[in-house]
Symmetry: C2
Subunit: 423 residues, 2 copies
């Protein structure tokens, strides 16, 4: 039995490692088109900023480690160019053909294609990040434009501000971070302005129309499905590969995982494309397990994410009120502004928003902004949403309290009280 | 309609405030035996330590504020000495009799009775804390003994170490923080030793047998139920007042809330006595709502708490493996030691333990130790336990990830993977 995995980052390596755990004898080959594997792409902006000193720190494993420690055959600079499922065969750019019994496609996402303008860079690969940093150090740019106010755009803006550049962020829609939420927009916009990042919403630009010394194109991320599509693997409505909850495609024994694959939104039941490292790892684990003969399921996601916006932690989960309405819910939302610890401790401001559905009284979304406690608080909301919790049960959750860590009424419970009032 | 509330701290004031919110015309009287109300008793050790500068910072409201802002008649130095339910009447120490239609008993907990030995102090009231601090400043004690390694004992030890005292903590049983858990004990013991607190387990002492300059008796906390018991209110097996899920006692229209009342453990379904400020507030809210004619329920607790142990955050929820076995579960546990952020960020060590039940695969307990993320992580586990989540669903929870805030596999998910392996 031979498993071939296309892609050597989060989903691909998770799949390969998990398959090995469950099947010690299976032959496992990982094909990575680039020169390195296991790069922590979420860390790229922090390398540009300088928090991460050496780019090698973002690379967790080498192919040699995988070979030695897990008996995996990991090949770099090995780009798969075609899949023939009738022959169960992957062809590499070198012409080499590799047979598979089981296949995991983990080809990730891709940014906009690089143009001829040397000022324009992406921030999607280790190479992008290294080039950007070089450019900053060698050409001492004074101004930068960032196209797109998604995670990468916002993180890139913060990194460039840390180098003293004047930064303008252009966003084609009226909201940031992919979240149509007025309150959240106001908080993020204020924070960006405080750090003198010039945010221009509802402004569609092309790299060519900009005059800045440096342009980062953080727009137009797409699932990288060319290889899959060409061999007949079914693509979903979202543009990503359609998979079952076992991460299997329409081809028996062919799995897909990570940023190239769809997942199910547990609130709406609909297929969505949410490319995030944490989901990629989970999908990869499940795909790898099933490729090795197990029967595991990946139920789906609720859409949890967190991003640092010029020092402010901004986290969200579930649906915004706007999105919830579009999905047929009857959403009600409440936002509270509070402190993250007991008042007589060194507390910091935090804001919590909850979205509930009036018909079912279920919690269906929320966001949290603030300092250290933000990740934990959004995760409590995400866990509640996953469990289809009603706001009335949520309000009385038994959460931890001691003065150095939280106020006696945790901000998420205060938000719940507020939501119940308006429900 | 007249509501009388006995007790002017967490539960009592929550009840009074909530009743007022729901009923603007009800007459509401709060009777507090001490000279102040609304004291944040959980903050006392931080006042002794010096983190809280002035003791007044621990008092959130004055009776005048409650009168002005909420139309509540709050009386200090008004100790209720008897209740006559047949006459629906409370008698004060002054001899004054006060009629009630509805009554909320929120008499709290009490520590050991003060003895004649002047070196011996409690740490249960504002007065205790003020005296302790004075004693430290005026008599410059060199050594201190703390009796009891529960929350208050551990927090007191840290506070005394901050003043340079040599501190010994005596605990009659073989475990600390009321949790029979070997792994947790090892972590807490190591941390105390690191801060040169001498912890002696399995050591039963009396204040009289100790030679130290100062002795803090943090043992023997009990529900303060004398008043209730004398008038015929039913006391439960735990020694606290037995209540329905509406917080009503065996007397119609008489409610109890806070540290004097029992609550239901949601995992075992059994009555327990867990005196914590956060639970007291929730119970008070529900008691107040029902006293004002609403029909609200307080389902119960899962036993979540957090405490700072010489700088280390230590949090727990649900049942320990030992307790779970005693309750008839078939517990399995796993503990992992990880980092709380991406490796290339300024991460700190964190440990997560999960306890599952082999028969149902439900998560029934856990602890987390570490730095800032501890409260959030224990709250995720508490939310999962409340929702009777199985470990297999928990493992794939959609939790927030970005390098400054968490590793791509959150430590709680890594613990879940580990628990599944041994399950």
């Amino acid at each position: 039995m031979k498993l071939v995995v296309i892609g050597g980052v989060a989903a691909g390596l998770s799949a390969a490692a998990r398959a090995r755990k469950l099947d010690r004898s299976m032959e496992i080959v990982v094909l990575e088109k680039g020169p390195t594997i296991s790069q922590g792409l979420c860390g790229l902006p922090y390398f540009v900023e300088g928090q991460v000193q050496r780019i090698e720190q973002l690379i967790r494993y080498t192919p040699e480690q995988f070979a030695r420690e897990r008996n995996l055959d990991v090949r770099v600079n090995a780009e798969a160019v075609t899949i023939s499922h009738p022959r169960r065969e992957v062809t590499l750019r070198s012409g080499e053909k590799i047979h598979y019994d089981k296949l995991v496609i983990a080809t990730g996402a891709r940014g906009p294609m690089p143009g001829s303008d040397k000022r324009v860079r992406g921030l999607h690969t280790i190479q992008d990040a290294a080039l950007l940093k070089q450019l900053i150090q060698n050409t001492a740019p004074k101004t930068a434009a960032v196209i797109g106010a998604g995670y990468i755009g916002i993180e890139a803006a913060e990194a460039l501000r840390a180098h003293g550049l004047r930064v303008t962020v252009y966003q084609a829609t009226d909201h940031v971070l992919g979240r149509a939420d007025q309150e959240l927009n106001a908080i993020v916009t204020t924070q960006l302005r405080r750090f003198r990042v010039d945010l221009r919403l509802n402004t569609r630009v092309t790299p060519e129309s900009l005059q800045d010394d440096m342009i980062i194109d953080a727009s137009g991320m797409k699932p990288n499905v060319i290889l899959a599509q060409e061999c007949g693997v079914e693509i979903g409505r979202t543009g990503a590969i359609r998979v079952t909850d076992r991460m299997e495609t329409n081809f028996n024994g062919v799995f897909a995982a990570g940023d190239c694959a769809e997942s199910t939104n547990l609130i709406t039941g609909r297929q969505v494309w949410v490319p995030l490292g944490t989901t990629a790892n989970k999908m990869g684990r499940v795909a790898g397990a099933n490729a090795a003969g197990a029967r595991e399921r990946f139920q789906g996601i609720v859409g949890t994410s967190i991003v640092r916006v010029c020092g402010l932690a901004v986290a969200m989960t579930g649906l915004s009120e706007t999105d919830a309405r579009a999905e047929g819910f009857e959403p009600v939302s409440a936002v509270i502004h509070s402190r993250d610890k007991a008042g007589y401790f060194r507390s910091r401001p935090t804001s919590v928003s909850l979205v509930g559905d009036r018909r079912t009284r279920r919690i269906i979304g929320g966001f949290v902004t603030g300092d250290d406690g933000v990740a934990g608080r959004i995760n409590v909301i995400a866990t509640a949403i996953t469990n289809r919790m009603k706001i009335d049960e949520f309000e009385l959750l038994d959460l931890a309290y001691a003065p150095p860590f939280a106020p006696v009424w945790d901000p998420v419970l205060v938000a719940a009280q507020q939501l119940i009032k308006v429900m």
